[in-house]
Subunit: 143 residues, 2 copies
């Protein structure tokens, strides 16, 4: 298995609401999908999909619905502490929920968490040890 992920799919209860959260709320651009069924976003070398939660449960879990927290978190790193605070504010204004206010964390960075309208957890972090390339890729180290 090559060392990559091609897509992350989030189950959503209301596709329009969740799509608006990521587009109007957070400023992303939708790049494809099918109205009322699925929305695709081109990310840094892979794809984020928003997809009906029950349909995803039917496909991926034999019909058992998940809660939006299944022990998995997404992270969005930024280049300063101020940018962490700003993005958490923006997420809350867009209808997200603040799960954990940003704070200095033991590994030497600064991070907080918000939940999107379906409960999916996003960490927003300033991590001085993980470089972010000009085209938005995140690397474990500079070499």
């Amino acid at each position: 298995m090559d060392q990559r992920i091609s897509a992350v799919t989030l189950g959503v209860d209301d596709l329009d609401r969740s799509t608006r959260f990521y587009t109007e709320g957070l400023g992303w651009q939708q790049n494809g999908g099918e109205k009322g069924v699925i929305a695709f976003f081109q990310l840094n070398g892979f794809v984020l999909g928003l997809y009906d939660a029950q349909m995803l449960a039917d496909e991926a879990s034999g019909g058992a619905r998940g809660s939006g927290f299944g022990g998995m978190a997404l992270a969005h790193n930024v280049t300063s502490k101020e940018a962490v605070d700003d993005l958490l504010d923006q997420a809350v204004k867009a209808g997200g929920q603040l799960v954990k206010a940003a704070e200095e964390v033991f590994w030497g960075g600064y991070s907080g968490y918000f939940a999107d309208p379906d409960g999916h957890r996003w960490e927003v972090a300033y991590n001085p040890y993980w470089p972010i390339t000009e085209d938005g890729r995140t690397l474990l180290s500079a070499d």
Copy 2:
């Protein structure tokens, strides 16, 4: 918010077991982390982390543990139907669970699902419409 994800973190019950699943089982190379605490894998422009499920729950969910299916699925695309079958076989041999055998799917591809040792869902798909670049990035379209 820039349109990218920096990391995907999977909560795991037994870090050694889960690390072996991805390394010895699926052939990935661990690129960092801290023994007994967290394992990092450099993926296609972002990072996958394996992290103690309770610690992740404390950080990301106020202590409430998730089940491993929270309405989110990861996908790994390959370039042929045979490669889908082969990878699902490999995942099961490595200790994963077959959630859905591969089949022709309505959107024109061929896909199945496995669960990793902690229940995180991976779709393995042949998607003829999403190009995979030579360096492993997945794109929504060729242009």
